[in-house]
Each structure stands twice: as structure tokens, then as C-alpha cells.
Symmetry: C2
């Protein structure tokens, strides 16, 4: 049975990687009392020191020391680093502990975790759908996960110990304020390609195109960016290493969705070239409906411009 | 010489089209005292009535009545309607009055205005770089233009009357809180294709692609939209008629910028297919710099996620 959310779920957790997500888990776990102790490690000594100063938990002297007594180890490193860092961690982990992650691609993690050969620890990949365009320990805050989804992609096993471990991890995320969903890893990777990976790729690409055109437009892209472009630059300010790894590790789903995006864009380009106003109008009208669904689902603010311009009432 | 900003610039203005932009000009002009009287007209009787109720000014019984005594007539209708509505207006306008607009494409407006044949009125196309994804009279608010750019694309004339009229219109926009820039119409259309038109087209296209994929993803695109996709849906919730007209009327610049965007996207796709992590990393790193420039230029908030998630301090 799952523990009650809000009460202590783990005596000790280890956070490996103290950036935006790792830092936010650490702070949230301590503030909400769902972990008795948080032990931190990061390959970047400066970031680790800073995380300790902020109060994210106790910095450990080594990876092995950080994970040795943890009931759950959270790999909060870029997707491309999860395999190797996990490999270095499992040798020091205690039997019965949970090994999880927070990466945006799940197919590889499940495979990498399975390859580690420790059958006496519970590998449960995870992905909190939360974040901002900021990175590093100072970007973390305890309420980052509130009312956001966290997807777990457990292995297809029904032995009682594994099921109990999965319930316990779900209770931890619930304790952080998340809504938890369990999903097949391949399905996760396709859905996230649509909702996250391709939008980020397109935003990065738009910014690159605009940057190349600055020679023609003489600095006016930045000056007049409030016309819509600035929204793309926020997304495109996200961590480059994290996103490089996402695209390298979710290649198949990304290329499939990108192919569909390009087909649709070709149709819109043709409509513009042929002055097919009806096709443009119909496409643009349909889009409004999906925005309404997202607001109704509580996934975004209904305020104009995300409320950032703070219009006077 | 330009009048002082903040003092009355026009005795009477006419707002033709009482949506987000027209309504915001009307309300701002009255609140800030830069117009003595605001007369309104809209082909949609319901919207016109509502604008009068909100207090945007005095609804007129006809287009001719609305413009007859106006010192400045603001065409706040979709780009595709500016030509025909202006043609119906100029016959009733008084000599020496200003005819301007707020459309997102300027090349056609200058041409359409010139074709009207009234040499005794001053045609000065304009474009306030401000807006939200909302439409209709209830979306308007007086502070919409504060600290936003307004681009005027006056004709290349240096007679004193025309220059004085342009200065007066600039003073009006300054009075609304805008920063005013004068620019060649063709240059405006290229810059805005980069900063606004292509970002909107891409956002609309991304939403259409995601919508088509809902059959595969079973409603999960909306559910997990906070991963990045929701930002695209905000932009893609903008007025369909307005945007149809933008693409039909700025075809040349839009197709040029779109061509560059597609070239860049092909290069990123190739990098993903070939697992060229360095190319991805370099592109993503460059994007952060332009975001920084935009924040430094005061064009967007530095708050994470536009501040919409309101993290606790």
C-alpha cells in the first residue's frame, strides 16, 4: 500500500546532479518532510558546494558515499549521462533501494538501468513534467512540481516488492505536489516528442534562423521581439546539454513527429503561395480550440500573454 | 514641432474596428486625455454596442458619421479589410485629417492608401507592436501599448503639413505610452516576418501537427502540454482572420523567411539523424545569448516561465 502523501516516505534520498530539477526535488523533499535526509552529489564541485549553501541537503564527498545509505537515488543528470553515472552508483547502493531518474526520454533509461545487473535494487524510471528555462542549483525551488504531472515508466513486473517500491516512489512525487501517471516508456517518448521535444527543436531553430537574419535586419529582431518571437527565445534558453541528449536519445520518435510537422508546414506554405485564405483560416481556427482545452485542463493560465504584462484592471 | 506627450493631441479621433487594438487605443486615448472625443464604428453591431457599454467612446450610426469630424481616423480592422473600409471612409473625411491603421503588414496599406485619391488627407500607416492572444472589445485595455514599440511607415514626403501630421500621430502614440520608430514599409514587413509572422505560422503549424497526432496519443498532448507545447498554443490562439490576412498580404517576405527556417530545420534534422551532438549543442548554446539580449533590451520578463507559475520565494 502506498504511504500517505505528506508523511515521510524515505528515510534518506540521494540527489545526483543538483541543477534545476535535482535542486527542486531536494528542497521540496525537505520542506514537505517526505524525506528524512537528503544527500547530494554533483560532478561539478562548485555546483555541489552551492547546493549545500542554499540548503538543499548534505553534500557528499563522493558518489559512492552519496548513494550508500539512500532508500532512493534520483539521477538528475542529462539523459546522456544517466547510464554511466548509474553504473558508477549501483555498485555502492544497498539492496532494496530504488534507482530512478528525471530525464525527458525514458526508452534508453529503462534499457540502461536493466543492463546494470543489480537485480536486488528497484529500477523505476521517472519524468516530472515541470521545469523552467533556467538551469543550475540557484534555479531550483520547492513548488516546481505542484500540480504538474510526473510520469513513471516502471518495468512490466508484478512481484510484490517491485510494486510496493513503485507505489512508494509515486507517493514521494505526490508528496511533492505532483499528479502521478504510469505509462509505457515508448509511449512516453512519443507523447513527449509531440508536447516537448519538437516544440523545443522548432523554437531553437526559429531563434537560429532569426539570428542569421540579424545581418539583414540590423538588430531589429531583438528590438521588436515582443511581436511573438520572444516566446520562442524563452524555450530556446533551456539547457543545451540536456536538450542535445534528448534529441540524441529519442531519435526515432523525434524524427517521426518532425516529419509530420514538415508535411503540415509544406501544406501551409503552399496555401500562402496560392493565396488559399480558406485553408489558412481553417487551420488557425482549429488551433484556438486546443488552447481552450489546455486552459480547461489546468495546464496553463488563461491570462493574456501569460499575465506577464500585468495589465491594469 | 510635436505636441507634448500627455496633453491633448487630437480633438476627435475615430476608431474603426473595436477589437483588442481599437478598443485599447480608444480607452487609452480617453484615460490619458490625448483625445478630446473618441467616436467608434464597427461593422459588427453587437461589438459596437459592447464597446459603447465598456466606455470606449461614442458609437456612431455609420462609418461616414464616425469619420466626418475626426482629426485622425484609426483603421483597426484586419489587414485584408483595410483597403475597402478606408475607401468607404475617405469620402467622408475632412481635409487635413490623418488616415492611419494598426495592421501587421505595411506594404499593402501604403499602396492602398495612396490609391484612394484624396491628396488633402494625410495617410500615415502605423503598427503598434503590442497585443495578446485575446480578441474582441472586452480584450482591450488602456495600458496595452506602454513601453511597446509603435512603428510608423510614413510616405517619403517632406512637405511641412505632412511632416507635422506625422509628428502629431507620433505624439499620440507616445501619449499612449509607446516608443515610436519610423521605418520604410518594406523593411517593416521583412523584420516583422522574422519576429512575428513566421513564429505565428510555426506555432499554428505545431498545434495542427499535434492535433493530428491526438488520434495516436489519445488526449495526452493536452494533458502533458506544460512540457513546452502550451506556449505554442497561446500564440496559436490569436485571431484567425487577422492572421490569414497577414500571410496573404506579406507573402514575399514570409516565404523568404520560411525558406530560411526550413533550410535550418533540415540541417538540425540531419544532425539528429547522424547523432551530431556538437552541431545540436552549438545551435542550442547560441540561442541562450539572444534570449539574454531580449531581456536586456526590456522586451520580456526575466522571470522563469514568464512568471506564470508564481514560485514561492
Amino acid at each position: 500500500m502506498a504511504p500517505n502523501p505528506g508523511s515521510k516516505v524515505f528515510n534518506q534520498i540521494a540527489i545526483i546532479g543538483v541543477g534545476l530539477i535535482g535542486g527542486s526535488i531536494a528542497r521540496g523533499a525537505l520542506e514537505k518532510g517526505i524525506a528524512g535526509e537528503v544527500v547530494l552529489f554533483d560532478g561539478n564541485a562548485e555546483a555541489l558546494k552551492r547546493a549545500g549553501e542554499i540548503g538543499f541537503g548534505r553534500p557528499a564527498g563522493s558518489l559512492a558515499e552519496a548513494v550508500a545509505n539512500a532508500d532512493a537515488v534520483f539521477m538528475c543528470v542529462p539523459v546522456g549521462a544517466i547510464g554511466v553515472v548509474s553504473g558508477a552508483s549501483v555498485v555502492a547502493m544497498k539492496a532494496g533501494a530504488i534507482l530512478t531518474d528525471v530525464g525527458s526520454v525514458k526508452g534508453n533509461v529503462a534499457r540502461d538501468f536493466r543492463a546494470l545487473g543489480r537485480t536486488d535494487i528497484h529500477v523505476i524510471p521517472g519524468h516530472p513534467i515541470a521545469g523552467t528555462e533556467k538551469s543550475g542549483p540557484d534555479a531550483g525551488f520547492a513548488s516546481l512540481f505542484e500540480n504538474r504531472w510526473c510520469i513513471l515508466t516502471p518495468e512490466a513486473r508484478d512481484d510484490a516488492d517491485y510494486v510496493a517500491a513503485t507505489d512508494r516512489l509515486a507517493a514521494f512525487w505526490t508528496g511533492l505536489g505532483s499528479k502521478v501517471e504510469r505509462m509505457d516508456a515508448a509511449r512516453h517518448d512519443l507523447v513527449l516528442a509531440v508536447t516537448s521535444h519538437i516544440p523545443h527543436l522548432i523554437a531553437y531553430n526559429m531563434v537560429a534562423t532569426a539570428y542569421d537574419m540579424e545581418a539583414v535586419t540590423e538588430g531589429e529582431v531583438v528590438k521588436f521581439s515582443a511581436a511573438g518571437f520572444r516566446d520562442f527565445t524563452r524555450i530556446a534558453a533551456s539547457d543545451p546539454t540536456m536538450w542535445r541528449d534528448v534529441f540524441l536519445n529519442n531519435k526515432e520518435a523525434v524524427l517521426e513527429v518532425l516529419g509530420r510537422f514538415e508535411e503540415d508546414l509544406t501544406a501551409l506554405r503552399k496555401a500562402i503561395r496560392n493565396a488559399d485564405g480558406q485553408k489558412l483560416f481553417d487551420t488557425f481556427t482549429e488551433s484556438r480550440r486546443i488552447r481552450r482545452e489546455i486552459i480547461d485542463a489546468g495546464q496553463d493560465t488563461a491570462s493574456a500573454n501569460f499575465g506577464r504584462d500585468k495589465p491594469k484592471p
